[in-house]
């Protein structure tokens, strides 16, 4: 009888799936000399294969606390601790350029994507990512054991990084990289756009261009841009309160130049505002939106404070006619 057939029958016997005729066939074969011995070896091999990866023991408590973390609403962090972390960050950031070489790409990659609507993910270290539409994050599957928590971003995401001073958290985009130890920040890096923008909500972040030496350190409520065409990294002046505005739908400004306000309207709320009078672009604007205030209220407020006229062109497109800086 065919050798292969016997193996199939022996496997079937282990699975308790032998039919009457199978049984007869196998019984017949087993009667022949030496066949009992052969069958025994295959049985042993089958038993042995059941030991595959038997030594692996997952960490139940670690897994459970990670899940519990995700199930409960995010707790507020203590301010004193945050300050200490920021100070620690100042010292450790100095060491970071050295550490880049530690990060080695591996063949196995974990991918998180958002598709048509924003999605929230938890990373293996408990850090959280709110991924905006059409965005993608990838990281090596041995992330948990690597010395740098490195990942790549295409698109836009808000990160809340669990502090771990011994393992810097690093986000790479096509043109830039961001390194932190534990903080919350928003990074926007859609490949089709001319700018990569970083807005820090809390903590301290090192933002650098992939090519060359440019690096900026950003603290809480600061924002920086990287211009892909000119390859220039620059800090946006003033305080930025809108790191997570694409999630909340609310924008706030404190003495922000109008040109920056326009960029934020576009980035966060997909609202296109055109200035008829270009000299307005350097005027500063302050607006503290209350819960539930709409984009329309912001735009009306903007028109009033510059004594301009707001006109709606079509959905999401407005033009501001006339006007001048207040004072």
């Amino acid at each position: 009888m065919e050798f292969n057939k016997i193996i199939k029958l022996l496997i079937k016997r282990h699975r308790n799936e032998l039919s009457q005729s199978d049984q007869e066939e196998l019984g017949h074969w087993l009667k022949q000399s030496d066949h009992q011995h052969q069958a025994k070896q295959w049985d042993q091999l089958w038993e042995l294969s059941g030991q595959y990866k038997a030594s692996y023991q997952p960490d139940l408590e670690a897994g459970l606390s990670r899940l519990q973390n995700r199930m409960k609403p995010r707790p507020a962090r203590r301010r004193g601790l945050r300050l200490a972390l920021a100070l620690a960050a100042v010292f450790l950031l100095a060491l970071l350029p050295l550490s880049r070489a530690w990060w080695m790409p591996t063949n196995s990659e974990m991918v998180l994507t958002s598709g048509d609507e924003p999605k929230e993910y938890s990373l293996p270290d408990g850090s959280r990512v709110q991924l905006r539409e059409n965005s993608r994050i990838s990281y090596s599957s041995n992330w948990k054991n690597s010395r740098i928590r490195a990942l790549s971003l295409e698109g836009e995401a808000f990160f809340q990084v669990v502090s771990d001073p011994s393992r810097p958290f690093e986000v790479r985009t096509s043109q830039t990289q961001v390194q932190v130890l534990g903080t919350a920040f928003n990074l926007r890096a859609y490949p089709a756009e001319p700018l990569t923008t970083l807005t820090v909500e809390e903590g301290l972040v090192a933002f650098s261009a992939m090519q060359g030496e440019q690096e900026i350190q950003l603290g809480a409520r600061q924002k920086a841009l990287f211009d892909h065409q000119q390859q220039i990294l620059s800090r946006v002046k003033g305080v930025n309160l809108n790191a997570r505005s694409w999630q909340t739908g609310r924008l706030r400004f404190r003495g922000t130049p109008l040109r920056e306000v326009i960029r934020e309207l576009d980035e966060h709320l997909a609202v296109d505002l055109i200035l008829e009078n270009q000299t307005l672009s350097e005027c500063s604007f302050t607006f503290g939106s209350a819960q539930g205030e709409s984009v329309n209220e912001l735009l009306e407020n903007l028109a009033i404070s510059f004594k301009a006229k707001l006109e709606k062109l079509d959905k999401g497109r407005f033009v501001l006619r006339g006007g001048h800086c207040n004072r």
């Binding site: 294969s49 899940l67 938890s122 599957s141």
Partner: protein, 181 residues
């Protein structure tokens, strides 16, 4: 059970099944942190969707099925798994001059290595049949291949394992009986 105090219920299920599910995912992938990530997602989704969820089988069966699906989807999405075309086997020849004794830990290593080196789709089919209590038909449906292919691949796996592990069998027997099974 899940409707009332859902978080506690999910935690209880997690304690009961986490290790088992991680092993299931790990055998398929095989990558520890990836396996744990996927199982984490299974539970997180269970928690998020518990209100809409109707489970007709046991929780264990439901969770296992969800885990197997996730692992297979992962392998597919990352193009680690293709069910068309032939694959070559990476099974090495056994080392000449086998040591006189084989420690249990070494044996574990040999077994893991031998299975890891099976051609990918052969390995996946073998794992599903060996550990996941799935019938040939179920595996065939899951992977969109014929039950005959499933059967062929399983016996192929065993033949390849014999090539890799055969020379160790006499020692293995000693260790297994010594360890009480």
């Amino acid at each position: 059970m899940l409707r009332r105090d859902s978080q506690r219920a999910v935690e209880v299920l997690f304690r009961q099944h986490y290790a088992y599910l991680c092993r299931t995912a790990y055998r398929l992938l095989p990558d520890e942190s990836l396996a744990e990530d996927l199982v984490q997602e299974v539970f997180y989704e269970l928690w998020k969707r518990h209100a809409q969820l109707t489970i007709s089988t046991s929780f264990k069966a439901y969770l296992r099925r969800a885990t197997v699906n996730k692992a297979l989807n992962y392998l597919r999405d990352n193009r680690k798994l293709s069910f068309d075309g032939e694959e070559t086997t990476g099974i090495p020849d056994p080392e000449p001059g086998i040591a006189q004794s084989l420690e249990a830990a070494e044996l574990q290593e040999k077994i893991d290595e031998a299975v890891d080196q099976l051609p990918e789709r052969c390995r996946i089919i073998f794992i599903l049949s060996r550990f996941e209590e799935m019938s040939y038909q179920e595996i065939a449906d899951q992977l969109d291949i014929s039950p005959r292919t499933v059967e062929n691949q399983i016996s192929r796996a065993l033949r390849l394992l014999r090539t890799a592990l055969g020379p160790y069998l006499p020692f293995i027997l000693l260790i297994l009986s010594g360890a009480g099974g």
